[in-house]
């Protein structure tokens, strides 16, 4: 009964979506603002990766909101799980030598790769959020491979707060210098160089540290509770 009812609902929805999409052609130019960003973006922001210039420069305020949403979700997860009664931790089986050694060898390399991704966010595909997720995956590997080595929660919380603070302070500096919040006030430099695009790399590095420590904290919370 329930399945038939849901299938009917999905059928109606599918018809509505087909009806509204059938006149929209695939693989053509659709928006004017996208063309504007592609043609003017490199001149106005100095970043060769147009997606980065949209995320950090044109729509920087929205990115600040997004970072805030992630922060609130991490806080909420900690608050929800903090009310849980702590069970006695079971003895964890020691990981095998291969897993242990591989985890040790890979951990700094994955951290380095994550840092590369978020430092080059304005030149190549990638950026703060992706690099932060890679760094968090390094911490997840460490939790699976060598469970007795936990992350330092105080240091990760401090890194997280520092990342958010740098983002907001750069925005306020733009307000002081040029009259706009998150104004790109540093020199744009030559495109395709590492030191170019003004405040975009600095903001992305701050976001990378913030997202990495935040997701590592989320992993820490969930793994601590599931033991």
């Amino acid at each position: 009964m329930r399945k038939i009812f849901s299938l009917i609902i999905l059928g109606i929805l599918a018809f509505g979506i087909w009806y509204s999409l059938k006149n929209i052609p695939f693989a053509t130019h659709k928006t004017k603002v996208g063309k504007y960003y592609v043609y003017k973006g490199i001149k106005e922001t100095g970043a060769t990766n147009i997606v980065t210039s949209v995320v950090v420069n044109y729509r920087g305020f929205d990115t600040l909101g997004e970072v805030t949403v992630l922060f609130i979700a991490a806080i909420g997860l900690g608050a929800i799980l903090a009310t849980r009664k702590k069970k006695k931790r079971k003895e964890i089986e020691k990981p095998s030598l291969i897993l242990y050694t591989g985890c040790y060898l890979l951990f700094p390399l994955i951290l380095l790769f994550g840092a590369y991704i978020f430092i080059h966010g304005h030149l190549t595909p990638g950026g703060g959020f992706q690099g932060g997720a890679i760094i968090a995956s390094a911490f997840l590997l460490r939790y699976l491979g060598c469970p007795e080595r936990k992350i330092n929660r105080k240091a990760s919380d401090a890194t997280e707060s520092l990342g958010g603070l740098i983002f907001v302070l750069l925005g306020l500096l733009g307000l002081i210098v040029g009259g706009y919040f998150l104004l790109n006030f540093l020199p744009k430099g030559v495109p395709n160089l590492l030191f170019s695009a003004g405040i975009i790399p600095i903001i992305y590095i701050a976001i990378g540290f913030k997202v990495g420590s935040e997701l590592a904290g989320v992993i820490d919370n969930l793994i601590e509770e599931s033991k």
Binding site: I50, V51, I80
Partner: protein, 119 residues
């Protein structure tokens, strides 16, 4: 056949969306519902990306100066999806923590057996 050729991306994306919605509507296990939510999220993200695609388009990155900007795909949906993926991760983590609390409080993840919550 040309219909399939033109709309295969839309069909795939909305296939994922409908699979996710079906799981959410039919299943009783809370973990399965969260997985369905995540599949729905993936479908919507893929749809937004495929809307910005341009025939034989390149990524919107000027990795060398000779790239023709006219052939670049739309960067706006990509920036939007970058936001949506991060928010999706946050929602997933929060939902999983709520599932942990439900399991601890009621001793089950089956929504049919959770008291005061029959639907």
């Amino acid at each position: 056949m040309t219909f399939l050729y033109n709309y295969i991306y839309y069909i795939g994306c909305f296939g994922l969306v409908f699979i996710g919605l079906y799981i959410i509507l039919v299943k009783h296990n809370l973990i399965k519902i969260i997985i369905g939510l995540n599949i729905l999220d993936t479908g919507v993200n893929l749809f937004l990306i495929s809307i910005g695609y341009i025939k034989k388009g390149t990524a919107p990155i000027f990795s060398n100066p000779g790239i023709n900007p006219n052939r670049m795909v739309d960067p706006v949906p990509q920036a939007l999806v970058l936001t949506a993926i991060v928010i999706g991760v946050a929602v997933l983590a929060l939902a999983l923590s709520l599932a942990i609390m439900v399991y601890q409080h009621y001793g089950t993840l089956n929504l049919r057996k959770v008291k005061q919550q029959r639907w």
